[in-house]
């Protein structure tokens, strides 16, 4: 089983130097500002977007016009692979902080060397595995554990990638990611803090 992080996907491409090299050699370097949309839901993306640094959210707008965020991406990550066959993207990718990408048009894929395509295929499998993990967590795991996991992952990723302090992980974002309401998340977090404070008090009394 793939046991890597589940909600904030970072540095997925680290293992494959071939992919990194390819994007650096053939990609067009672009910097996007916070709020910029890289790939729009229901539209065919123009290419593959290789994230170098910054924080990107993956979300869906449902029929009521409400946005649901499914995951956050930082570090080396490839957006647009879900539509590599030219199908419209089921999700929107939007920059939460300033982010830089190498972009490669999809039309150039068929001219690539098989060893690069095999690496791309391996990456696809890896990301599918992470998505399946996320789905499994959403369906079986305890929400409090999921919340702790997201908060820990976020702390770790923010430090590692020097994420702008102005970006705050809100209860609404956590709620979207684990398929709960904002109120449920707020309740669970306050319960968690109450419990932690009580435990700390108990330890202090012992001392």
């Amino acid at each position: 089983m793939i046991n890597d992080n589940h909600y904030i996907f970072d540095d997925l491409i680290d293992e494959s130097s071939l992919l990194i090299e390819y994007f650096k050699r053939n990609g067009q370097y672009t910097i996007y500002l916070p709020g910029a949309t890289i790939i729009q839901q229901d539209e065919v993306p123009g290419g593959l977007f290789f994230l170098i640094n910054g924080l990107v959210e993956k979300s869906v707008i449902n029929k009521d016009g409400k946005k649901k965020i499914f995951s956050l991406h930082a570090g080396k990550f490839l957006a647009g692979i879900i539509s590599i066959d030219g199908a419209p993207s089921p999700v929107t990718y939007q920059c939460l902080t300033k982010a830089s990408f190498y972009t490669v048009p999809l039309s150039t894929l068929e001219r690539q060397e098989p060893r690069f395509l095999l690496e791309l295929f391996r990456y696809c499998i890896y990301e599918t595995g992470l998505l399946q993990n996320q789905l499994r967590l959403a369906t079986v795991a305890d929400s409090t554990l999921n919340i702790s996991q997201i908060m820990n992952e976020f702390d770790m990723v923010s430090k590692k990638h020097h994420i702008d302090d102005r970006f705050v992980l809100t209860h609404q974002i956590i709620a979207d990611m684990i398929g709960r309401t904002r109120e449920q998340v707020s309740n669970l977090i306050s319960k968690k803090y109450r419990l932690e404070t009580r435990l700390k008090c108990r330890e202090y009394k012992k001392l």
Partner: protein, 229 residues
């Protein structure tokens, strides 16, 4: 079938819905693959074992599941055109064990064969995997956005559409799923599935006898339409 229903994303069956699009790829793959036959109940692989290749379902239905707290949880159904066991290509153990729900015919390709493939084979593989990624994504979206009742009706619709008689939605279809399996797939409790099926019986022609659910796809379609709009 109405256009709006045709556009519904499938969520619960990992099926390569546009298998005709990949006819050339499947022909080439089958010509070099090892064709294997499995009986109902046989396992293709277990989640703890690293397999040596990839499986393509040619015939039959296959179920993916895992065991948690000594309980079996069904996570997906797969039928013809589905590729399985791909995690072996990245040297990882599987997410789930895979077992045949009916007699199945499967093509097996070893990892070393795949490593030697050219662009003509790798591009369709990438496209098929992208479809699978979209299915998992749709499942996530459905879980976050749709009500449990809607997910149940969508599941019944998807399962029924796979088993149509003479491609007609006005003829009854019998699908075989336990209430626990349905509950696992749509992420709810067995009790809720039982209660919702009873409620559905008031609105649609639907009969439940143990694991057999007999329903009229056209009725389910119409009900789903009402839920959607």
């Amino acid at each position: 079938m109405t256009d709006s229903l045709r556009e519904l994303p499938s969520c619960y069956f990992y099926e390569n819905t546009s298998i005709e699009k990949y006819e050339d790829f499947i022909d080439k793959l089958v010509s070099v693959a090892d064709i294997r036959f499995y009986s109902k109940g046989d396992h293709l692989y277990f989640d703890t074992v690293l397999s040596e290749g990839v499986f393509l379902v040619l015939k039959g239905t296959i179920e993916a599941y895992y065991i948690e707290n000594e309980k079996k949880r069904t996570i997906a159904m797969m039928d013809k055109g589905s590729l399985m066991g791909l995690t072996s290509l990245i040297s990882r153990t599987k997410h789930s064990s895979v077992c045949c729900r009916s007699d199945c015919t499967v093509a097996f390709i070893s990892n070393s064969q795949i490593s030697n493939w050219g662009t003509d084979m790798l591009i369709p593989m990438l496209h098929i995997q992208a479809e699978k990624m979209r299915l998992v994504s749709n499942q996530m979206v459905s879980l976050a956005v749709d009500s449990i009742k809607k997910r149940l009706v969508m599941f019944l619709h998807e399962a029924a559409m796979r088993d149509l008689c003479m491609n007609r939605t006005d003829l009854p279809v019998c699908i075989k799923f336990s209430k626990q399996e349905i509950a696992d797939l749509i992420n709810t409790s067995r009790e809720y599935v039982t209660a919702t099926l009873k409620e559905l019986q008031k609105n649609c022609r639907l009969y439940v006898d143990g694991n057999n659910i007999v329903l009229y796809p056209c009725d389910i379609e119409a009900y789903l339409q009402r839920l959607l709009y």
